[in-house]
Symmetry: C3
């Protein structure tokens, strides 16, 4: 996958900054604007699910849009103003226009007493109400008196929007990436996830691949439930998955295991992230967080883990106005994208093989795979070949072998390449050689997917990728 | 089970003191007197197994009773006197009346050189002999000369006695408690076990229950073998079991695992005792100790662990006159009973459930189970519900979920209650709701068991429980 | 096996010294001379595999023999002389007679820069070339000029030689010992292995036994491949195996697990060697080393571990002239042999049993197996019997029980003996009583094996064993 575009941290940060000001929620114009920005970079399949649609145990809510909102005092001074910050409005606030005393107003106001200068992020998607979020310091200064309250919002039949970038590979086995797109003006949570998932899709699209990839951009919870409901028949194709989010704060990586706890994706992401940063934390599954809550519910139980830096509710600025562009950095965005790319690379290469000469060691020397003078210890290249041959009974993956041998995945993967070329190995999964097999890919794809793939490619030709964007500056 | 009587440590200690002076052995009047005292508190089913009965590889021995026994010197002074302490006689000593030199007498005398002032406890159930146990200091002072020896005992056809308290529940699945009743004048070993098993039975009888309970009071080894032989056809009903003994010495709890090593009872007692005292020790199964030796022999291999404080032979006073009422305390008796009650409570509640809305999370908010304003982290109550829903695929018990989540069994159990009421869960074991189901119990019991249950209840009405006893003082 | 000959470390060292000067390679006269010396001590079945024979993925090479070889300078002085040390010649060097400049000669010379005074051991079995190995210090002193090079060797059709000592037991289940015999003038690697395997065979031959034993003496790699190819139909009989080598250097034991990693041989050798030396290291399988590479290749995957002291390439003197007789010691040879004997003893005794009175404990007292006075803790002998009875459901081996109980294999094995005699146990594997069953052995052996066994015995009568050899000095 070396021919794919390089995306710098600066480009990722620029895209995050572009996404940051949009007032997103689980439905409405903000989500669509966000997806259009993403669609400028990668080809998206767009989905609208009408309000009222039954989705598993849930129902798609009315669509919420907002024009303006404020609280003004007796002097007409706006003491809370939606125009100043998206977080000032309780997300999904119903429209209101009223005059209230301070005592009547207070129960509608949300603040963070522990951080007096931060505006909290609060929502009320399913209980109809209105409210404002504000700095605790400012709330404490409100004087008794009359206040005018205006929420110029609408809650009306419409639809929930999500989109996915589908990148067919040589097989129909899928790798799923999932990121939430419903948070307004929170930088780490989750402009970082959206920027990285977008760049990752562009990078994956740039090279032939064994797996098909599906990158879903959806509102949290109700969005993933919509996706799950609509894709129930095809979930069996998902071999590995990763929820992405919170990928630019200063914390080291946190990998949260799938509910199953010992999937290939679990071992693989642990391996890749530890190789990049030994401080990576690995935590067991728990049923809160992001869309792994839905993807790993017992009725689906998909092999899906989650990659973040901090965890939800795990940093002071979480769900507040302090989760802003100053909290995130180009370097960390780039490192996070690098981790995702490495995950893809190792997934692509992490085959199981059958040793075709399993009785004794095959004679490597006559195939030019072994040093000519014996008596010395084998070099790492030869050790890697011996490991791959010895372990390749179809049960151990190359990553398993890398970890048992301590020789590292690149050395083991290279050895498998050489042995496969020497016809000493064959892949146990019958999907053709692991690499350089782009030519055979079209044969394996059904027509509709082939067309989609072509579309992706033309998309990439027609549209600027992140690197181009950066250069254009 | 909140309506059941509270038994204080003082009451437990008073009952232990009542049991302490009785000269028990594996057969005879002492055992029957002991069981009558227990039967004053709880309704017992009484079993007599005649001498000579073949019991698995064993045979019920002749019944042993003793009136008096002594060794007197040439001056007629009793240098060893059974009336002074039950332990002075080698248990199961055959009758004798003889005059011996000190040299002839010595081989018949047992002492503890390391503890000169303690009388050891020794037995000879199956090899016919006689002997005395005495303080080493006194034995060392015996002067050469003639000694008169009298053992006024009888070994005659009779029977072995054991009893059980059977408390039927809504299902025929049984929980077994087992305690040995054959030791004379040893306080920790085992008036503590008898007092606690008695109070536990009274407490269990006071509330409706899912499981049936069977508390067996039997002489060690031959008594449990009799019980096993007579109950072979029904052993399959035993879901969990616990041998009780040595529950009042100063050591923290010791839980000895079942032979299987990973039964529900193993995890559960470990959890409960650690919650009460973090110093609790857990030890693997080994084939000596109390009646777990028989219950966990390979031909039965029951899911039975053992709860003690010190272990057999694990404290200096073990099997000596120093294991007296001063060694045990009301506080430790009460704490031990508390642990047993908690085991019962957790067993009763430790169901496995099926999530009835397993695809994605069900919408808790519309059922009133979730806070109205989102964006904040879920409170513990909500976390507990998410954990129960996520894990309830029929394989994980509530205790498993409590341990995985770190949220504690009470929180998890309460969440399961709420979710079951909201029809989001059903028990995986089809025995009806876990709680509040007393009304349906009679339907499920066969007539004979229903009668027994009624008997237990009337018993409890007619007879004073331990609390009443205490108050009466 | 107490009647078998005792072999002292001194005798082992004397035999190693006898083997040391021989110029061995993977074929040729040195191998045959080595096997004749071994055959003087134990009866060997001799195998010659002709050059050109296809062996799995390999082919038996031409036979190599060497008469003389040297490099002489312009003055006719031999600067490298095969007569001075076998290691001076690159093993399998083709014949050559030429005059070269120093520059032309240099690529043919091998040295060890890190150890200037040691001659390295190098080979070129499968790439036809010639070369010399020499001290780095001497190589550095070579002056420019002309050098005469002579290698008076032959590479001609012949055969590869290996041999095995087959010692039939009461069953056809086999224990395999494997040692490499292809190294010239390297003392630890592997005169130590050859001396110990020879003495071990003599010792095993001296007593009746449950298993059949097969001790293979073969050139490394191609020799074990020949053996594997020729024995493919009988590999299923191999229940346990051990590769032996490097058994006399100063390091403590290293046990390398089988590829399967949890075979009986793995647990057993770990137990035995730790009991002899707590500093024993246990390492996981890896696919380089000695003939476990072939025996544990995925197509065979035999239950074979490896016992050495240092590991291959694990000591400074490895594959150099410093691996000489001064590196090895009589004491370590004797201790290594002792470990091998203990492995055999524990293998012979390590049965699985069925408790014939599995319901409850059988009454040991009436069978004379238990102390007469109760109340005291059971002595170790009684504990061992309780452990064996409790665990003997056919799944646990005596070694498993020894390790669970902490009581040691001898105590557990003795308890099993006593219980088997008391008819409380029977072996789970239906091969008759574990011990003292020599009388029944001939019945179980097919005629050909019986003859072989007779041959072994007569061999042992006719030939001196190692002890006799030693006495003869």
């Amino acid at each position: 996958m070396s021919s794919a575009p390089v995306t710098s941290g600066t480009a990722l940060q620029a895209f995050a900054a572009e996404l940051y000001p949009i007032c997103r929620s689980i439905t409405g114009a903000g989500v669509r604007k966000t997806l259009r920005l993403i669609n400028n970079r990668i080809a998206l399949d767009w989905h609208e699910v009408p309000s009222g649609t039954k989705v598993l145990d849930w129902e798609v809510p009315l669509e919420w849009n907002i024009e303006d909102a404020w609280v003004s005092d007796a002097d007409g001074r706006r003491v809370v103003d939606f125009n100043a910050h998206n977080l000032h409005i309780l997300s999904y606030s119903e429209p209101v226009r009223a005059v209230l005393s301070l005592a009547e107003l207070k129960p509608r106001l949300h603040s963070m007493p522990a951080h007096e200068d931060w505006i909290p992020y609060r929502t009320s998607y399913y209980r109809r109400q209105w409210g404002f979020c504000m700095r605790h310091r400012e709330m404490a200064q409100l004087l008794p008196g009359k206040y005018e309250v205006v929420v110029d919002s609408s809650l009306a039949p419409g639809s929930l929007t999500y989109a996915e970038c589908v990148l067919p590979g040589r097989t129909r086995d899928e790798v799923l990436f999932f990121t939430h797109i419903c948070h307004p003006s929170l930088a780490n949570d989750n402009t970082s996830g959206m920027a990285i998932a977008t760049a990752l899709a562009a990078w994956i699209a740039g090279a032939p691949r064994r797996y098909s990839y599906r990158l879903v951009f959806a509102p949290g919870t109700i969005g993933s439930l919509c996706w799950l409901q609509r894709n129930q028949q095809r979930l069996g194709r998902i071999r590995h998955g990763l929820v992405l989010g919170l990928l630019a704060d200063p914390a080291p990586f946190t990998y949260k295991r799938s509910r199953r706890g010992d999937c290939e994706i679990d071992h693989l992401v642990e391996y890749v992230t530890h190789a990049i940063d030994p401080q990576t934390r690995v935590i067991p599954f728990e049923p809160y967080g992001y869309d792994e809550r839905q993807l790993c519910s017992p009725g689906f139980n998909l092999p899906v883990g989650r990659l973040t830096r901090s965890v939800n509710d795990g940093y002071a600025e979480y769900h507040s106005s302090a989760d802003n562009l100053a909290l995130i950095s180009a370097g960390r965005l780039e490192q996070s994208l690098e981790a995702c790319k490495r995950v893809v690379e190792v997934l692509e290469s992490n085959r199981r093989y059958i040793n075709l000469a399993p009785k004794g060691e095959p004679r490597l020397g006559k195939r030019g795979l072994y040093g000519a003078v014996g008596g010395r210890s084998p070099a790492d290249r030869e050790r890697a070949m011996l490991w791959v041959l010895n372990q390749s009974d179809g049960s151990a993956s190359l990553l398993d072998i890398a970890q048992r041998s301590g020789l590292g995945f690149p050395a083991i993967s290279l050895a498998a390449d050489e042995l496969e070329k020497a016809r000493l190995l064959r892949a146990a999964d019958h999907t053709g050689p692991a690499r350089n097999a782009a030519a055979s890919a079209p044969r394996k794809l059904p027509p509709s997917q082939s067309r989609k793939k072509a579309q992706v490619r033309s998309t990439r030709r027609k549209r600027p990728d992140l690197r181009s964007t950066r250069r254009g500056k």
